[in-house]
Symmetry: C2
Subunit: 130 residues, 2 copies
DNA sequence: CCATATAAGTTCATTTTTAAGACTGATAAA
DNA sequence: TTTATCAGTCTTAAAAATGAACTTATATGG
């Protein structure tokens, strides 16, 4: 949820806090964890007094498909009669976004049954000994 | 992680338990929660003794883009030198899948900066009063 | 018949997390 | 001078997770 909000352009501690209603301590731990994981970075936006904001790194931006498809899933299955709380407009085509996961090589929609998982030898070994 | 495994065709309690090393109690709670949420369903596969497996419902299958893009993110940023533990082969084109999130209307790759979030009036109100 | 195995839990004691809310410190604005 | 803003930090109580053993129903092998 912190990350979802980060993609909604939320960047500052108190803004996250107000939006999520999460305990400040927990928010602090989460943000610190995300910074340590390299998903967010603290960028100062003023000195005197020193203040910084949390911005997505490239690694964080790479999570965009995850977040957007999760939000879309939530909108599909949980939106009330008024529709979803946030809609996303695709600037290039002007429409409300409906995200679809496709295969980069053939552009087809990816469906679970058309995708065959193949386990690495290392993983097979690890599962056997456990 | 339970759901990731479900998409890897894991369906039975003890298989989840062995793969995840999670406490049985917690696994039970999670599975029950997912069933209650309508993401999984219990399907008996034998009687005497009664045994059942957990299968993804349509709602659960709809989470495929979320899981697949999350796994892909993990593979990109955390895979060791041996490559990712599981590779996904797209049956229709034969290649290892590299998932891309696209806009259903224009087929373009969705990037955070090309997508404009628009808040519903209801949400704006809710944020103001809080 | 008896011991062991399997699947799917359940129970218990102990450790970890989380939550809610008050408090701090630096600075700016009224 | 009082109040507000931002980014935390502290404390205590409640909730959740952990690991290991225990249960129930049935099947299998000797």
């Amino acid at each position: 949820m912190i990350l979802r909000d980060a993609f909604l352009r939320v960047r500052r501690f108190d803004d996250f806090q107000a939006r999520l209603g999460i305990a400040r301590r927990v928010l602090h731990e989460r943000l610190a964890g995300l910074v340590e994981a390299g998903v967010l970075e603290k960028v100062p936006y003023q000195e005197r007094p020193l203040r910084h904001e949390y911005r997505l790194t490239q690694k964080g931006l790479d999570l965009y498909p995850v977040i957007l498809s999760l939000v879309h899933w939530g909108d599909t299955h949980y939106a009330g009669e008024d529709g979803p709380p946030v809609r996303f407009r695709h600037k290039s085509c002007g429409h409300t976004v409906e995200p679809v996961l496709t295969c980069s090589c053939c552009q087809e929609t990816l469906r679970p049954r058309e995708v065959q998982p193949e386990f690495s030898e290392a993983l097979k070994l690890a599962l056997k000994t456990a």
